[in-house]
């Protein structure tokens, strides 16, 4: 991972206050506060609450999620600082446990395999959710409602390559051995939902090429530098029909719905409206919704903040 912050992701810090002001003016009071104060400034549930820092990980979908949650919270009057592009799950979780951030959106399967080091594959999305929720509760973190969409890793190759080697599932890669060049982010090497699981469950030991981002992985596949790569199921590039995804029957990539991890301390400090605002946003994130947002950010190079703003506005949350 290159230690670079996406300036475009830092945009929320600049634009969001303006957006919040406009949103406050336009939306009026749609709060569900239980405050007994009568003054108008208290009609926003977040107005009297302490400032909170939320973070997101280092790829576009997470940047969008961070922008969505931050914008929605600010629309409800919360004082939110968005720490964008922190890093991989391992790094961002450390930022959470060290108190640098109070919340970040994470994937349920990743919580189990990466954060909890639990490689027993859950049988369903609901199971993945409840197991990860239980793990986090032991450490003093709450897991809020999960999104309808799921976004797991998937290994893809070019269509021609898959045809030539008769590839439909990950197990088909085993006989290729090291002649199969696989590109993925550096953390792939140490993860069960990565090289470790590939070896253990499918006997696949590829020639691994670490690349900093998903975009570079696609580029390496396109240019023929590698034969396949690890990408995300919600990527807009997958809709082009140029790539063949390999199925994962043993489920090493797991069920991956998104849910915000919040520390219990922050949850108590920010009040019930904090959680309900976040849940309202999560409920809107269907697969088509997140796919369209990904396309706008990844293909059109729009900023996550403006995409998040437009989406929330269209759905009455900003």
């Amino acid at each position: 991972m290159v230690r670079v912050r996406n300036l475009r992701g830092g945009l929320p810090a600049l634009v969001a206050p303006l957006v919040a002001v406009v949103a406050l003016a336009a939306c009026g009071s749609s709060s569900n506060t239980t405050s007994t104060k009568a003054s108008p400034s208290a009609s926003q549930p977040g107005a009297s609450k302490p400032a909170v820092v939320i973070g997101d990980k280092n790829f576009p979908e997470e940047n969008i999620l961070g922008a969505l949650y931050a914008t929605a919270l600010r629309a409800k009057g919360y004082k939110v600082t968005l720490k964008d592009n922190i890093g991989s799950s391992e790094i961002t979780y450390k930022a959470l446990t060290s108190g640098q951030i109070g919340m970040y959106p994470e994937y349920t399967g990743t919580i189990l395999t990466v954060l909890a080091n639990d490689t027993a594959n859950p049988p369903s999305a609901a199971a993945a959710y409840s197991q990860s929720k239980a793990f986090l509760a032991k450490h003093g973190y709450a897991l809020l409602a999960m999104t309808p969409f799921s976004d797991s890793d998937v290994v893809v190759t070019k269509v021609a390559y898959a045809k030539a080697h008769h590839l439909t599932t990950l197990a088909n890669l085993a006989p290729l051995g090291k002649s199969f060049k696989l590109a993925a982010e550096p953390e792939y090497a140490t993860r069960y939902s990565g090289l470790i699981g590939l070896k253990k469950e499918y006997g696949v030991v590829p020639n691994f090429k670490p690349l900093a981002t998903s975009a570079l992985v696609y580029q390496a596949i396109d240019s023929g530098q590698v034969d396949g790569g690890d990408v995300f199921t919600t990527d807009p590039q997958l809709k082009s029909g140029m790539y063949t995804p390999l199925s994962d029957p043993k489920g090493i990539f797991g069920y991956q719905n998104v849910a915000p991890i919040v520390s219990d301390k922050v949850l108590n400090a920010e009040g019930p409206a904090f959680a309900s605002t976040l849940n309202a946003v999560s409920a809107l994130l269907t697969l088509p919704a997140i796919q369209k947002m990904n396309a706008a950010v990844i293909l059109d190079k729009q900023s996550p903040a403006s995409v998040a703003q437009e989406f929330l506005k269209a759905n009455g949350l900003a």
Partner: protein
Amino acid sequence: MHTLIEALRFIGHNGALPSDPAAPTLVHLTLQMLAISGVGIAISLAVGLPLGAWLGHLHRFSFAAINVSNFGRALPSLAVLAIGDAILGLGLTVTEVALVILAAPIVLTNAYVGISGVDPEIVDAARGMGMSGWRILWRIEVPLAIPLLFAGIRTAAVYVVATATIASLAGYNGGLGYIISDEQSYHLSGVLGAAICVAGLALLVEGVLALVQRSLTPHGVRLEQDVRGEEDLDALLPVTSASPL
């Protein structure tokens, strides 16, 4: 300091990564970097030395020859790599092209100033003795211009090593920059270890070239330098740094 000790240990283990046994070793990456830099320097010398020396011998196009290094120096290396990436795509070719674009001007200007700066009386005397232009260049001007020629070569060589390190940020996956750009896998201790290696490599290249320069400098010129008390390091920068243009 904890990280420093870890870094030294990393170097001691030849850059082994516990999480990935197939990761390239430090030795491999260092040699790779020397190879990339070597090609870059070689091409830059092949382009800059003959052209600069010939122009200097003829005393033609002085404005262009002297200012090309100012222009080259002004080009931020990462920007050149970036623009090259956009036009030519990622990879080794772009890196080498960028290295040559950045280093050749330094070699050219120093060759020009060195050759053209040789005492005209000496050149006249040689011409009077019946030497051809070619012989004058080879037997008089080049030996006398060794200090400045090498100032350019040394500066360019170090510059190439530095840019080769940065190339890994610009999408080229090789050399010691491979480690420095991947803090995720190698952690700060690994990155620090690789950085120390890069620093050492640059100083080594500079030192070796300084020795080569010393051995190639004609005896008379070396005596003159010692008498004048010139610092060897003084020749680190191209002579154009002192002349107002």
